[in-house]
Symmetry: C2
Subunit: 338 residues, 2 copies
């Protein structure tokens, strides 16, 4: 736990073009704040690095307001209460919340959520029991309507969300095919996570792989990447197929416009639908999702992997691992350097 009385922060210096550069960030040190009434001081220990963060750095309307220039970068975090002026929290409590890319945060008690580290280690609350877990659970089951015997296809299958989507689908009796980059990741999703098959987008035709592994078409395509992979999935939809738009990481750093899906008329041919969602809309049902996920973990039916990089100062470089595909599992920054 970081006990220094300095609060280190990464603030957004300017809006990136393409991949975020070191000069897009300001590293700032300021005094640690003091909690007022109903506030708590949190020592942040783990910072969640998520593809959605790239979108939050852009100007313009989206599902959430952009991070302002000069503001601490938005991020999901987990840590320990250092001081509390709120009746629900005591010093030493483990908490999560969107406290930003900094080492300390003074926040309103209502914006923090207490978690039980006896049930799962703290980083798990940024992954399988946090936003990625809820994204996978509600996106697959609520938006995608996945049910037994469906063929479910997931892009970015070894990623924080994709790995859970596939495993939840298996719990529900679906046939699951994942898309991943490289032999190692493909073998991970099949051999360790229990997917039925994987397509290596770096070394084979995704379109042909879909044809081969989904001869009856794709009932649910859970898309994290966008681009040509989405287009191939549209071309391979089953009758009444559902495309869940969770993200489009292949396009977040595009500087000459988004790749547009040419095959959208497959929605008509197959009476299919494509639907977007944002996990925050399910906030009032997180308890339901977390309970289901925790139950599967306890039964040994849901594996989760965190890719933890140590050292707060490594934030800018570590974030880029998401876009190069070099992370393996839920990417988490550990504030302490060791």
């Amino acid at each position: 736990m970081t006990q220094t009385q300095e609060n280190r922060q990464f603030r957004l210096a300017q809006r990136p073009e393409g991949l975020p550069k070191p000069t897009d960030w300001d590293f700032v040190t300021e005094a640690v704040g003091q909690p007022g009434d109903d506030e708590i001081l949190v020592g942040i220990e783990y910072i969640s690095l998520d593809p959605a963060m790239r979108g939050w750095m852009n100007a313009g309307r989206s599902y959430i307001k952009p991070v302002k220039i000069g503001e601490v970068m938005r991020a999901g975090t987990a840590g320990t209460v250092l001081k509390s002026n709120h009746p629900d929290f005591a010093e030493g409590d483990s908490v999560t919340g969107n406290f930003g890319v900094q080492t300390h945060a003074v926040v309103a008690g209502k914006d923090a959520r207490k978690v039980d580290t006896a049930l799962a280690p703290l980083p798990a609350y940024l992954g399988v029991l946090g936003m990625p877990g809820m994204t996978a659970y509600f996106g697959l089951l609520d938006v995608g309507g996945a049910k037994a015997d469906d063929t479910v296809m997931v892009s970015a299958a070894p990623g924080a969300v994709g790995a859970l989507v596939g495993q939840i689908a298996k719990q529900k009796g679906c046939r699951v095919v994942g898309i991943a980059g490289g032999a190692e990741k493909c073998s991970y999703v099949v051999d360790e996570l229990g997917f039925d098959a994987a397509i290596d987008y770096k070394n084979e035709s995704v379109y042909k792989g879909m044809k081969q592994h989904c001869p009856g078409g794709i009932d649910v395509f859970f898309d994290n990447v966008g681009g040509e992979i989405l287009d191939s999935a549209l071309a391979n939809l089953a009758f009444k197929g559902r495309v869940v738009i969770c993200g489009a990481i292949s396009q977040y750093n595009a500087t000459d416009g988004m790749y547009a899906p040419k095959n959208y008329m497959s929605l008509l041919v197959n009476r299919a639908r494509m639907e977007g969602f944002v996990v925050f809309d399910y906030a009032d049902r997180y308890a339901e999702g977390a309970q289901a996920m925790a139950g599967w973990i306890a039964e040994g039916k849901l594996k989760h992997k965190e890719d933890i990089v140590a050292g707060f100062e490594n934030f800018p470089d570590t974030l880029l691992k998401l876009f190069s595909g070099s992370n393996f599992g839920k990417l988490v920054l550990k504030v302490d350097a060791d």
Copy 2:
């Protein structure tokens, strides 16, 4: 009624590239067939010309098998029973069915539907009480889920389907904006059909028109045209908006690939969905749709306009009116020349 004993036909000679050319058709004359058991001979009087016909001429998988080279072109038709070997039909009955672009057809009784010309004239059974009517009714209400106070946007608003979509939406208490080409058609949809506003895509920016007329965004976009108009609508969706993919007439003759909607990530931002449908899936509910439409017609709440072109031989040229936008109302070919 055509009483000649020759059956004139247009058969598909070759698959068109781009707009159908005269050489894509074979004009064939053969002897009128005789009905066998449970069959009827129909003298076809009206032939429905629909945008979907362009798709049926292409090779390759779609929602319905393509018309084969050498086959009579598929089309919805209405006419009179000339001979009947089926207990449900008598000489003189008015019937509709997909009897093709020909002057006579021998068909199984089960493939014909008797209609009442005392309720509505025969061509109406190819429009407001036929496939376009059912397309508008189920597409708007079932797929689009339009409800009171929704802002509904319709492309190809003066067309056979669009005109009905807008009027049904008004019956349901929606605010309705149509997209049409030219001042005359825009004034038709507002002044005669009762739309709240119209955007003239030939003379103004569709994107800006949408912003102006739908300040709260589009709740339901019923799309008949595709292309840039669909893309503009995606960029103007309301929270939880629904895009109904009925057709994409602007793209049916494209020879260098479909226009792809760049703004599909608006589905995520707005938690919106885009869904395709095919009216034939609602066949078992046509009675419900036709009853509702007939009720509104009887109450004077639903106007319909047929654009009737006389003369069977004019089929190839008349079909092209759909793609140049020069038809005005439901396009119907009358078999007789006068």
